[in-house]
Symmetry: none
Subunit: 253 residues, 2 copies
């Protein structure tokens, strides 16, 4: 049977307590796949266990990665949670649409990641542009003070609601909808990043980045531009071919 729970991915979490209470929040909704990207205080962490109130199995099965790229290699739909409006071009979705879309994606065999940034600063722009979408939790404009585990709690809660409401559907294996693409056809974040890296390099060689200080911005724009297209594996092959062909590096004769 398809595994239809999402991955919760914490980028550079700072406090062990927050990792523990995130695990606890997740387990209330039967969501147990937690990944850490470069946790500040290393892993494992005693303070996380002290606070997890019995969600030990979630903590024991945590996967730790040193970069976001590695930690999202196999994720085919990555949704970044952000507290504020972003300048990067990644497409914002309202949280309910996003969870619904994500749920359908898993039903079709895709792997979902919900990405959360560090407690103090939130996600960096470089992290955000890796995502397919951003979502923000609508809060009191004069007082937005959700902590990390509360933000995770609300996402897991919404996920669980969709799961409950669609439970019958999923069992009967009926896919309601206007599906265009099978999720399994969608490219993974890792494959996309591989393409972007190659493109970066070729553009560098060809003198595209004429302003060094703008180079990181332009690279982010390119990522968010392409990520908005929900690239399939086939799309990526096409793009690789286009880039190779244009730059005269094609193997074809």
């Amino acid at each position: 049977m398809t595994d239809i729970t999402p991955y919760i991915i914490l980028s550079k979490p700072q406090l062990g307590e927050n990792i523990g209470s995130t695990a606890r929040a997740m387990k209330n909704f039967d969501i147990e796949k937690l990944r850490l990207i470069s946790p500040r205080d290393g892993w494992p962490n005693d303070s996380a266990y002290a606070i997890s109130a019995g969600a030990d199995n979630v903590l024991n099965n945590i996967e730790v990665f040193s970069t976001l790229e590695q930690g999202t290699q196999d994720i085919s739909l990555l949704i970044a949670t952000t507290a504020r409006k972003r300048v990067v071009g990644t497409k914002p979705l309202n949280i309910f649409e996003a969870v619904e879309k994500a749920f359908e994606h898993t039903i079709n065999g895709g792997k979902i990641g919900f990405l959360f940034g560090p407690e103090q600063s939130g996600l960096s722009n470089d992290d955000v542009v890796q995502a397919d979408f951003t979502i923000s939790i609508p809060l009191n404009k004069n007082f937005s003070s959700l902590n990390l585990s509360q933000a995770v709690l609300l996402i897991c809660w919404e996920w669980n609601k969709i799961r409950i409401s669609k439970a019958g559907v999923e069992k009967n294996n009926i896919i309601l909808n206007k599906k265009l693409k099978k999720s399994t056809e969608l490219s993974n974040v890792g494959d996309r990043e591989y393409f972007y890296k190659q493109l970066d390099q070729m553009l560098k060689q060809s003198g595209f980045f004429y302003s060094p200080e703008m180079e990181p911005v332009v690279k982010r724009n390119i990522r968010s531009l392409f990520n908005r297209a929900s690239l399939t594996h086939q799309d990526l092959r096409t793009l690789h071919g286009i880039v190779r062909s244009l730059s005269g590096k094609s193997n074809r004769t």
Copy 2:
């Protein structure tokens, strides 16, 4: 104007920390009316202030009562949150029905209270029977470990969703909609096609279309790939630049 926020009522809360984090959770959703029934450690309580992260005004305006009867005197619809099935005859409602019903009730001038029991034991049967309805938060049957403030958080979240959906989305200035890009920033079909044509031509020159019969299909795929990204004018300029640069046709020196 009618005040349409509910009262959060904590019956015999034990830890000051939980009162503080409850206030903080509430304030995220602009819900500020908190009542305590016979708090174990008295009131005010320093630990509550220490943890409330700036929700001081909620704490300063707390109303304290010694019995539930006094603390719900003016409440016209009381909803008790319970973790488990009850033997008492109070009618259980599903949480979404309950919040919806409660919201309509306030619109019609009623006063709503959501009642939460002590951390360890939950509400006593004597407390529960005071309520019009009970609600339970659906959780993982093998791991139900929401703390008090998380339970309050979820209720406030659901309340806020109803408030947003009912009370004139524009007025609350909340963006429930996907369109963040101004349509004027989006590229026109003509501009896009101009880019695709240029790309087609360059790809042709570089030998990309090695199978003549597939050429039209590949061209369509390229168009649909890029069109899915909702390209802006700026995106198009970037893409033109990329293509020129890769193919060595850049004017830049």
